[in-house]
Amino acid sequence: MDSSLAERLSPNQPLSELGSDEFAGLYQAHSREIYYLTLRLLGDTHKAEDATHDVFLKAYRKLNTFRGDSSHRTWLYRIAINHCSNLRQNWANRHLVTNVEECVWEGAASDGDSPLRVLEIKELGERIQKTLDRLSEEYRLLLLLVADEELSYEEIGTLTGQTPDAVRGKLHRARKMFAAMFEQHQ
């Protein structure tokens, strides 16, 4: 590892303070969408923290394989999707069940928000998670990806292994299912 980078990455120093560094910049630019994706795919703040850490660590280890054929954003999404898919597969194999009610919402709002606002955000996030959990993995992933305005249908198709037209068709159904289920949780 670059010694100057190592010095700047002291345990108590957040990456966000590393301004000019390329990898810190990558983290700063994309940690929010990667954390949000893992949170909503895994449904657990602690697992999402671990997953986000692991995704960026994998990205660091794979920096030499990034050729620039896709954007950093798409590249990180691909790592995150594969990582979450592997985790979910492992959990399914072990028959582990996550208690969504207890652990999903602890980190959903920032400390500076008023109590009422925190409650609102928690309730809304809770409804969103419950609704997403009732969708198929494919629909859940498509909705989360299309919510990122910077991703095109082509990029979503590449990430999910299908054509842009197939993405459009499935998204139409996914939106309808989400809307119907979301209303049920009201």
Binding site: M1, P11, S31, R40, F56, Y60, G68, A147, R175
Partner: protein, 76 residues
């Protein structure tokens, strides 16, 4: 399809006048035009825990420096 969103909404001048005279009865609602909009709002409200960056910093200290990519070597 209707999603609730916090925003003060006045649909007409008449409604606005009523709300001005009955300010105590003003209501706020949340309304989203699409699933994407709802999820974007949710994403915006989600804070990335600062502990991740700290853990990542610790982990990266233990990592060897990544090798230069073949295409960088090729073009330099």
């Amino acid at each position: 399809m209707k999603f609730m969103k916090q925003q003060k909404k006045f649909e007409s001048r008449e409604q606005q006048q009523v709300s001005e005279t009955q300010s105590q009865q003003k209501t706020s609602s949340r309304e989203f035009a699409s699933v994407e909009e709802l999820l974007r709002y949710d994403a915006k409200q989600t804070t990335v825990p600062p502990g991740i960056a700290q853990r990542l910093g610790q982990s990266l200290q233990k990592e060897p420096r990544p090798a230069r990519s073949w295409w960088r070597r090729w073009f330099r």
